[in-house]
Symmetry: C2
Subunit: 400 residues, 2 copies
């Protein structure tokens, strides 16, 4: 762990009521950038602590979402627990929650109460559908958000069913967006003195990624077809078979395609009257595939990756996670790192996608054991040892 | 257009050298939050201006990524053009580019030169693989980043090929992460007075979304199998057939599964010795599917969506874009909006996934025509009318 470099969010106090996925991902990003994230957990802890495969008693799934946080245990269903939370919020910068809309209100922490408590507080909510509209009370889950947002409908083979992405993209994208909104609101607050609410819905976040699929639909009123791994409008493009397996090639426009064909000694194709337009090439896919396969089959993937990348043709292989972890570029980028469990073993986790030149993200805080910082955080708030012991005996807090 | 509410990034000056996808998405997010984004385009413009279906001469694809920006045309391959850029950068907050690593250096704008010019400047780069490591010079493209990051390898049917997501997720996720990094660096800069570099690589961003797929691999050394739309570990879960089509149901744990089965009058299943553990249910998938199908087939999707959501079971339908656009929740959330073309027609674009309570995102600036603000921006920098005319005649700038 590197304690010495302060991240850019050093001094930003984030009170984190989130659990499971979208919210913990958001607050981990803030923690990675240097914020002081206090993860407030119920006595049983974030459910993810008990999920996934355990290594030396620690969930790798939990570790992957909770480095750079401090954990305290607080029973928010007790009056005394909410009083402690309010004392934390009074001088915090950010509150983040991913309950269903309305839960915070039920805890007595509606927007008006929070504003009275701390007008500078930024209150961020991550949820499934948004806190207004007819579906606001619906339970949310990544698979459903993928379905409802239009994302799943465009993925998959032309003759196959709509296909979800296996990673929980709607949670994660909502979490990243929430970090953007929170940091934007912090910058605004530092100018105006006023906090505000920030909300990101999983369905909205995923819909916002529909990019040209959406703009083409808006322009034409035609639904984008599913096209599997092929480009809907360009050929050759996709997966091609070399001597020892497939490579992915993205000949996204004519200039790159010419480089691709030149590298395969097929440079004449673009001038051949049978293939001299993209429309003709789309129509003659089978012929072209035979031509290309006949060249590529003679050499290895590594050969083609080398010469095509050098020629400026975007290409790569479909890596599984073992290949990703071993990939020299991934290693150079330190995208697999170790995070220590509080007083325990190191666990492998994914690295930092945001690379800062002067104050790089580091694992400043270990993955916390449940309630590992309860006493420390309460002491910082001014609670005496006797008060802390009283809260512990009442079951309001738990010490690790 | 709403000019009256200042977003939280009001006053933040972003000089945007990006083109096509990842960078323009990042800077649009900053513009949506109120930053003054000056899009610096080459004389031919961002290539996306000429891509996709045109409506009244305007690319919907371009519109979808470029609201809330001002466009200037500047020839960065001329000495005079770079001099104008340097004058812009001298009092800007952020520079964003998505060239291949090294391009900025070739323009004489290496990190040292930029630091001398403006030590407070934040310099953000979005690229394919990162600016260090063996693949840094490789050309990047979304399809390739999906393949190389491990993302594509986990998607698709168990007996089918790896499956890309159709939306360009690696570009877009990198763009959102870059916005996080930039805003974090702004907050740090406001404390220390020092800007820094921010870099996000498409492959790294997508790898960071591997979530529990990665943590399980780290914990077990077993590669996650592709499982299509099914949950790898839980059944029943997935798509189920009603009288008029399929619905997606996410029975993510036993409590929710019990509610699902109760709603179908199959509450006894969980206590039946044939099905009383998840392992037994996974083994008896075919039997259970018949039971569930026999109940669901009798009623419509709307019926089941109503009663299951009310019961707290996450469920929905796989919507195509026409259904998404018509969805009452999407409409309530204003996720499809209109953005005006500068002096021209309105175009439908996707709305704002980040909802701020006090200073909501709005379309403050239209989608700009090429060079539509060249004269305005140069005048703000102190260029006289004669100087602007001289630059125009030399071909250094273009006025719209």
């Amino acid at each position: 762990m590197a304690e010495e470099v302060n991240g850019p969010l050093h001094g930003l106090r984030v009170i984190d009521l989130t659990r499971v996925l979208s919210g913990p991902f958001c607050t981990m990003i803030l923690g990675d950038l240097g914020a002081d994230v206090v993860k407030v957990e119920p006595p049983k802890g974030d459910p993810v602590r008990a999920q996934g495969t355990m290594t030396d008693g620690v969930s790798g799934y939990f570790a992957g979402f909770n480095r750079n946080k401090r954990s305290i245990v607080l029973d928010l269903y007790s009056q005394a627990g909410r009083a402690v939370l309010c004392r934390m919020l009074a001088d915090a910068d950010v509150l983040v929650e991913n309950f269903r809309p309305g839960t915070l209100d039920k805890l007595g922490l509606d927007a008006a109460a929070l504003k009275t408590l701390n007008p500078r507080l930024i209150v961020a909510s991550i949820n499934g559908y948004g806190s207004t509209g007819p579906y606001t009370d619906r339970p949310a889950f990544d698979f459903i958000a993928q379905a409802m947002s239009g994302f799943m409908g465009v993925n998959g083979e032309a003759d196959g069913p709509p296909m979800r992405a296996a990673p929980p993209v709607s949670d994660l994208v909502a979490g990243i967006y929430a970090a953007v909104g929170i940091l934007g609101a912090v910058i605004g607050r530092d100018r105006t003195g006023q906090g505000q609410t920030v909300e990101v819905a999983m369905v909205n976040g995923l819909l916002s990624l529909m990019a040209y699929l959406a703009s083409e639909y808006f322009a034409t009123d035609e639904l984008p077809p599913r096209t599997g791994n092929d480009h809907p409008l360009v050929y050759p493009y996709g997966l091609f078979l070399c001597a020892d397996g497939q490579i992915a090639v993205a000949n996204s426009h004519d200039q790159i395609l010419q480089r691709f064909l030149d590298t395969l000694d097929l440079g004449w194709v673009m001038a051949d009257p049978r293939y001299d337009s993209n429309a003709k090439r789309m129509a003659a896919r089978e012929d072209l595939r035979s031509l290309i396969d006949s060249r590529m089959a003679g050499k290895s993937r590594d050969h083609w990756l080398g010469v095509l990348n050098t020629a400026g043709v975007p290409c790569g292989i479909v890596q599984d996670l073992s290949q990703v972890v071993a990939d020299p570029q991934i290693r150079a980028q330190q995208m697999v790192i170790e995070a220590p469990w509080q007083d325990g073993p190191n666990l492998r986790v994914l690295g930092f996608p945001i690379k800062l030149g002067q104050t790089p993200c580091t694992v400043r805080k270990p993955v916390p054991r449940l309630g590992g910082s309860t006493a420390e955080v309460l002491a910082e708030l001014g609670y005496s040892e006797d008060e802390i012991e009283g809260l512990r005996q009442a079951g309001t807090i738990a010490l690790a």
